[in-house]
Symmetry: C2
Subunit: 548 residues, 2 copies
């Protein structure tokens, strides 16, 4: 923040609004935090519990033509599984036929003689066939090995019922006998999975003539969203189980066009506000258990998407009170972002600290053009929010600033000759740079459409690494009127996951690399990931594009 | 059973007593079982719970001069253990300072940042330093690997309290961090061990001048017995957790001279009766959880010791009603044993089935002389029991039979020249052959004393492999007036365990082989074993021998 005028403006605005300036150690939200957290608690939706049973017995089969090299094959009926000997067959896999999240219990019983010693089992809960086929150790991953859902249980005697204490998320369970007495045999007599979600049925139905693949994508997207809608919008029910602003934004969009549980959105907006940094800046994510608490982590793109999510929430719910209460939070995110603009309105990549910008899981993706576009997009949403709240006066200078930003974007980030936005020292052409510039209406619709098509048609362009990235590309294609391209991309990308056997959509999917992982282990990737559910949003919001 | 007269006698007696003959498939105790099991339930003593805390931090140190090559050394105070980083020091051992049995809980907390991922720990509960120092896998043992007390726990978040579902028995806990997030550190903030036993304080005190080593042996014996007295007399609270007749007999003897909880003895006598074979023969052992049930296993020596234990119980408790009710059971065991005698009154090693005879854990130990002696001993006790119950008429022929058995013993099993009993085709000289012949008064006290001393002084003689075997040798030495030898043997054998660091007495102890195990793994041996507690009995019953 090199401009002394801006500094002055900042100080004034913060003193006026929050009686505190950014960067002070005192707590900007000292007065509001506990109220916000209470409101978050009050809005917590009850979990709907369903008792689920496995549907058949399968085996994991190595198959180079299958996704990640593994598939499952049915080997038996579930009826013959119950009460059958584990000594004769000490590794079994049961299939619930769908992705479930909740609490797993299992009753073991004795066969033959009485039990005279403890028995030990290993249970591996898997979202994907690869988790059944591949060894978890040695574990090369960068995240905690404990995310992998293998649990060792000791039955002191049988019959004995175990309940795995941690919440689990899976479709398959591999059950391995590790240790037993020679005196008796053991079997499973009952299995119970108490599956939870705060939602049950979508309020939308598709037109009957809808393409079967679009129907399948919608179904898998709904399953993904449902699994992630627990007592917060989780990013992934197997891995992370956290409320991230970016996921919240996309889940809330999809929720609007499916389950319509606005209380969950309200709860999450309040939680994020109540657990923001003392400076007023939002933390990127919140862990809910045992009590909600934020990770000390700022991601500037997510901070700004909070404003967009709050704007969307107000439009959908009409809940003025919440939006009014949380307006100061939105304003603080705006101010933070503003401080990263240079005099010409361009995002300053030299200013410290440079916060992590999420945008996508993709190596070597340059984020400069994207953050410039996202800031512009979010500033516009913040202005619209202010208008709905009668607060335009508080951000009078922003509409002018937006114009300046767009001008700077055109000047510094647009390659007129190629007709695309470029980003970074190597002038990288990426799908996402075009998408964010389109979503922010930085150029005309026609120019943006050309930029998008130019990037997409360029095999050397940096394509997104995740459904999160692809969401914004499709959103931009629709915005630019490229409906067929949007539909084609959904069929190619999400349809690709369906074709490869997805029950729920994956956190990371690269059609060219099945084992791609940001964590150095595809086993620890999340295979039911909130940010991947947005076909639900597109398909139900734009029936004219997708339901034909 | 070759004698037709005996068969006739049997049939008559069983029809009279039980309205059924041995070997029929109908249930001899059909009328009584449920009453007996109800009485067992009614006599179940309440468990006394005590909350125990670890006293210090230790490490396991390899030391060839230590028992089994391992010892512990204190490395820190427990106060500095709580809240200290597991990332800095990912393996810790805490020491409770005493052997405990019960339920273990532990609260983990976050250090530094908030927890953003599950954490995994391995907890190893150890009776002995070797269990801390040596790897459990690969496991060579013959019993279930699941007896070894290592448990892997996943904390979905911190703070989090885990309770290990199985009951545990240990002095030390090794806590290893297996998996964590790079984002935060973890510590332990609280540990709770809810220790249980149905007894608390011995009703006996030793004379003040008692030799300190005898005092120590008594103390360790009391701890052993207390740990094994739960809701049944268990053989070992870490491994087996079962009620075996042989252990019951010795525990009840020690209980009489310490805690005096006669209800537990009563409960166990009823349980064994209620869960006997349909033929009327007792099973050797019972597992209590989840509901009491017997292992289908007959050990003839244990069957007969039931009679001795019932006789002792009646003498100690004066509980005529129980003894009267259980008399038919004693009678059935007597009859079974009787059927194994040939015409001369010698145990017939050719008769089928040959039941397992426990006697001791010792390879190549020949049991013929011992079973002959034990049968004689138990028949005498059964006669005394019958007298106390006014039931002599029912076993009128037994006193004569006992005389015949002794005559046969002298004729076939006594080597007059050496002055010792010999056993088996190789005429093995063992401590236990002499002990059982002495306890049964097969020869005169003087002859028995000579036989015992001759065996003990013979380096080639087969010495016992377990405290269970040594118990009968010491009992026999006392019976023969060899008081100094009895005391010396206790100091040598149980004193040896104390000198080697025993907190509780071990299931198996060979002064010449630290790692001796009947199960091919000394790690799965029980180091708090009921049958090893009997110094409590000797020291308190014979103060003139031991309390000086």
């Amino acid at each position: 923040m090199k401009n002394p005028l801006l500094i002055l403006l900042f100080s004034f605005l913060f003193c006026a609004e929050n009686n505190l300036a950014l960067g002070q150690t005192s707590d900007v939200y000292a007065q509001q935090r506990s109220t916000w957290l209470q409101k978050a608690e009050a809005a917590k939706p009850p979990l709907i519990k369903q008792n689920k049973k496995p549907v058949c017995v399968v085996k994991a089969v190595k198959d180079t033509s299958a996704y990640q090299g593994w598939k499952t094959e049915k080997t038996g009926e579930i009826e013959s599984f119950y009460r059958s000997s584990f000594k004769q067959n000490n590794v079994r896999i049961i299939d619930f036929g769908e992705h479930l999240t909740g609490t797993f219990s299992c009753t073991f019983d004795t066969l033959g003689n009485i039990s005279d010693a403890p028995v030990r089992f290993k249970l591996t809960f898997a979202e994907m066939p690869a988790e059944l086929g591949e060894a978890f150790d040695p574990y090369p991953g960068g995240l905690s090995r404990a995310w992998l859902q293998d649990e060792i249980v000791t039955l002191p005697y049988t019959p004995y019922t175990i309940t795995i204490p941690r919440r689990l998320s899976f479709r398959y369970v591999k059950i391995e006998l590790l240790a037993a007495s020679s005196y008796f045999d053991v079997c499973i007599s009952d299995i119970n999975m108490t599956a939870t979600s705060c939602v049950q049925e979508s309020k939308f139905t598709l037109a009957p003539q809808t393409d079967p693949m679009i129907q399948a994508i919608n179904r898998v997207g709904l399953a993904t969203l449902k699994e992630c809608m627990q007592t917060v919008y989780e990013d992934g029910p197997k891995r992370d189980m956290r409320l991230w602003i970016g996921d919240l934004y996309l889940e809330a969009l999809a929720n609007t066009y499916s389950y319509q549980n606005n209380d969950l959105t309200k709860r999450c907006l309040y939680l994020l506000a109540g657990l923001a940094q003392p400076s007023g800046i939002l933390n990127s994510n919140i862990s809910e258990m045992p009590t909600p608490r934020a990770q000390n982590s700022i991601t500037l793109d997510y901070c700004l998407l909070y404003n967009v999510a709050l704007h969307e929430y107000l439009q959908v719910s009409g809940d003025q009170q919440t939006a009014q209460e949380l307006w100061p939070v939105a304003l603080n995110q705006l101010r933070l972002a503003q401080s990263y603009l240079n005099e010409e309105g361009l995002y300053d990549t030299a200013k410290q600290p440079q916060y992590w910008l999420v945008f996508d899981w993709k190596d070597n993706f340059d984020r400069h053009a994207s953050i410039q576009g996202l800031m512009t997009f979010a500033f516009q949403h913040t202005c619209q929010l202010a208008e709905l709240l009668g607060r335009e006066d508080e951000i009078k200078e922003i509409p002018g600033l937006i114009k300046k930003m767009k001008k700077a974007s055109r000047k510094y980030l647009y390659d007129k000759k190629q007709g695309v936005f470029v980003s970074g020292p190597d002038k990288q052409v990426s799908y996402l740079s075009q998408a964010w510039m389109a979503l922010s209406e930085t150029l005309s619709q026609k120019e943006c459409a050309r930029a998008l098509l130019t990037a997409i048609e360029n095999p050397a362009a940096c394509y997104p690494g995740s459904p999160y990235g692809y969401h914004y590309v499709i959103d931009a294609l629709i915005k630019c009127g490229l409906h067929q391209e949007a539909r084609d991309m959904m069929l190619y990308y999400w349809g690709g996951m369906v074709q490869k056997g997805a029950d729920t959509f994956w956190e990371v999917y690269d059609p060219n690399d099945d084992c791609r992982s940001p964590y150095n282990s595809h086993l620890v990737n999340s295979y039911c990931h909130a940010w991947s559910c947005t076909p639900v949003y597109f398909i139900n919001k734009y029936p004219e594009i997708f339901q034909k």
